[in-house]
Subunit: 362 residues, 2 copies
Amino acid sequence: MSERFIVIIAGGKGERFWPQSRSRRPKHLLPIVGKSPLLTQTLNRVASLVPAKNTFVITSASQVRAVRSCCPGLAADHVVAEPMGRDTAPAVMLAALLVESRDPAGTFAVLPSDHVIDDQDAYLSDLEAAFKAAEASQVLVTIGIKPHEPATGFGYIQQGEVWKRVQRRSFFHVKRFVEKPPLELAERYLKSGDYVWNAGMFVWSLPTVLAALREHAPGLVAGMEPVRTVLGKGRPIQSVLKKVYPQLEKISVDYALLEKSNHVVVLPASFDWDDVGSWPAVTRHHPADKQGNVCLGNALVEQGRDNIVISDDGHLVAVLGVDDCVVVHTRDATLVIPKARAQEIKLLIKRIEATKGGAKWL
Amino acid sequence: MSERFIVIIAGGKGERFWPQSRSRRPKHLLPIVGKSPLLTQTLNRVASLVPAKNTFVITSASQVRAVRSCCPGLAADHVVAEPMGRDTAPAVMLAALLVESRDPAGTFAVLPSDHVIDDQDAYLSDLEAAFKAAEASQVLVTIGIKPHEPATGFGYIQQGEVWKRVQRRSFFHVKRFVEKPPLELAERYLKSGDYVWNAGMFVWSLPTVLAALREHAPGLVAGMEPVRTVLGKGRPIQSVLKKVYPQLEKISVDYALLEKSNHVVVLPASFDWDDVGSWPAVTRHHPADKQGNVCLGNALVEQGRDNIVISDDGHLVAVLGVDDCVVVHTRDATLVIPKARAQEIKLLIKRIEATKGGAKWL
């Protein structure tokens, strides 16, 4: 019988949770919610499904050290560093080659590293159903999240007819993938009940995904051929990745594969999910005081409402007369931003990047 | 001929410029404006008027160490620590006794330590005129500041008829002292042209002020008699001050003396002045960028207007999308407060005081 694998994609630029997150320590390496880093939580969540010898983490060269320290249970060659970011399609291809080198008939899930999922049972039973479906049929399974607000920060997947029931769960054909929509459209999607959020969770058998990649992304498959050769010889791949990656097209697996294939099915998740996309997400996972302030560490708010104030190392952050703001202090940098503009933190990152010596803080 | 003395009152609780100012390091010990602490600037300003041997600084026990380090030119017994704050009347009485121990016929100026005065020539010529007037007549001279806005944070002095011209400057009788007025009243005062701000600058001869104190504050004079005795013997006064001070009434020299005496005259100052009363004052002494932001140290504002952002030690403070705020980072504490509420910082200090271990940050 073919084996199951899990490949966790742990990339990210570390911008959205600056100054806690940095380019070398992005969101998945932070205990933004809970006591351990989100990546560790993700690994723990899937530990009962697949053994460590079948679990891989793909990350970036700048983060690999920190990632390894979050994955004490994984062998060194199970944490693989991409030499540079090339979006998700090359990462998925790399995942496929890693799985192929262990079991050419294997089935694997690609999962993000930095989401919060509280209902572990539902999560595992959804993954189990998705694995079953992928093992039985030549389909690319995505797990979509039922939307509970007209979010404009996610891509959506439109469901079609029921494809099949597996493990008493309904899988649907996919009508189409849609990019992050404007608000009115998102509201229509939400109302229709036909759409789920694209959470970047995929399950497929190796033969199926390789066939699809060969059809829709032949350049990627060809470009990664040297990696396959080195893996086939059981040799380390870091240096071949360094040669190969600069040539690869920077493209997401959604664009490169899923939007083009007719074999994609979607399983609406039975668990809820939080992608913890920016600072305001913190309020969903920590208790607030009567004025709606979430204060973590040595932080206090006087005569202010609905702020998030975070400090570390015992440094005191004291706020008076301010509402709806995020104030975050770290050892070497402090952020002040209105909650409503938290998504625009990238503007600040750009400004810091452009400042002489600014990279030091990123 | 009688000698001239200057006594600088360097007290204060270090609240208004928290977290830069602390109880042990209040405003006058900080280089809030200019490159040296305000106390040092004050000492330098009067150095040409009176020699160091005739200059005293009265401060509090908790600050005396830091104050001494700002006054390298003064002998140790010229920096005198009050064992506890008892407002300004006891400090003035102490000043009188210090002067008396050097020259019973002396004349002295009592000056605040923490104001910014750019026009040194005008300041010195006003002081010269005030000394001349105090030497020639038995009057209590106050120097008042011509108001340029309807400030509600100062006491006002209403001028009466001209008393005398000295050094080609007009001194006025004082009709009355008024406490910090509400805005409408302050506006009327400003319009009338009859009022000046009470800046806590006094010049008088020792015999005149002692006579006035004996008449209007006999309890204070009697209470301080033991200090006079010890000073008369040329012995250190710290231990007698510790015995005497707890018994003294906590009262300002305005209440205790000036509002009661008929011998007060006022000289409207020919210099401009800034009491640097709270964080927004910083904008008057540092250049702003095109968006009106004053950024000191490693601080930056993106898409925000009219903020004051101050950092130290190279710590980065980054602000996005915020207007009219004060953000101050120091080694162990950070403040965020709207400019318009900077006067209310005391509420925050109280809150910190009430926090377990909070005194550490004050």
